[in-house]
Symmetry: C2
Amino acid sequence: MTKTLIIMSHPDVAQSSSQQFLLAAIKGEERIQIRHLESILAEQENNHFDKRIERACLQEADRIIFQFPFYWYQCPSVMKQWMDEVLTLNLSQKGKKKELGIVVTVGAKKDRYAAGGSVGFGIEELLRPYQALANQLGWNYQTPFIIYQFQYLKETQKQQLLVDYLYYLENGSHYFSEKEQWMLEKLEQYSNTHTGSVREWIVELQQEREELVMMLSEMGNEADGF
Amino acid sequence: MTKTLIIMSHPDVAQSSSQQFLLAAIKGEERIQIRHLESILAEQENNHFDKRIERACLQEADRIIFQFPFYWYQCPSVMKQWMDEVLTLNLSQKGKKKELGIVVTVGAKKDRYAAGGSVGFGIEELLRPYQALANQLGWNYQTPFIIYQFQYLKETQKQQLLVDYLYYLENGSHYFSEKEQWMLEKLEQYSNTHTGSVREWIVELQQEREELVMMLSEMGNEADGF
């Protein structure tokens, strides 16, 4: 099974509703380790990361996720400090390739990042430095997972986010039908926590998808990758 | 006259030959203010920037230059901290637009940044976050000034760099002939420091350029913008 390491940076994680939501989503996931960089740094006496520990965590992981809010179109400064202090080209390994995922929360609306929007560049272009970093370290860069305006999401949207997020942490971005199957299997494994409403929603979604696939098929379209 | 503020970040500026070279180049330039962020931060008791002071410096400047070495395709963490703590959208002003220039020193060869190179993305694309930041603040983004592999530059190349750098600090990237004229005028103003050899070099270069323009003209080409 894949082992995922989340390198998370947020200067005030207790006050962040989105980060709290994401943290709650992975509660009980044994294959996922989280390192909240600001907390770790606060415990260091010299205000530097312990390279040995950080690198050991990286070595053990199959998937590495950088999770952070977008501050001036980059990660917060503490995550940059972690990169500057911890990452070296020696971390690129022979054998099985590590994967690098990016989970970024964005305060502005999505259309600000479109051509002609006030930012003027797409998120994926703004995240190029992380992609270049992955290239250099020999890690497989995953399509970034972007959460726009978490505070305005409706309850159903949050449930969908939860599923998508968990799926991303383990598998990256793949076809939607694979994701459904994965989630249903996952729900079999543990029936505690917050899964009741998610299960209902998945089933609903599955029905909707089947209808949609039929509709597309009637219109003569392939429903590939849906 | 334009007032230029250099926001400079380098964790060990005394040991950096490129930064020392650039600092020497602007010695005596009254219209250029430098703020070395690591030194400033070291003097603060709480490890945070004084927003009031930093913003006052920004307000006074016509041109702002972010000067830094490329660490993992971004600025060092202390400059990111400065951005996170100091910059706000309120800094975008009515009236004369500020300009934002980027001076970045790069350790790798230029061709690594070409398509197919080991990095895979051009520097200008990797610098998009700064361009987006300029867009949001209503500042005019200037073509970045990139210095590749300073340590391998020959003496003549360093002299050219000096002229180009000083020109960039005051004027941005423009046509080469304008730059020559500007430099010659500048040399009239102060005949102290390191200008002797530069003057010679400029004159030489001017002759070469004139020959080249004639050659191009003979070949039926316009020598526009040379």
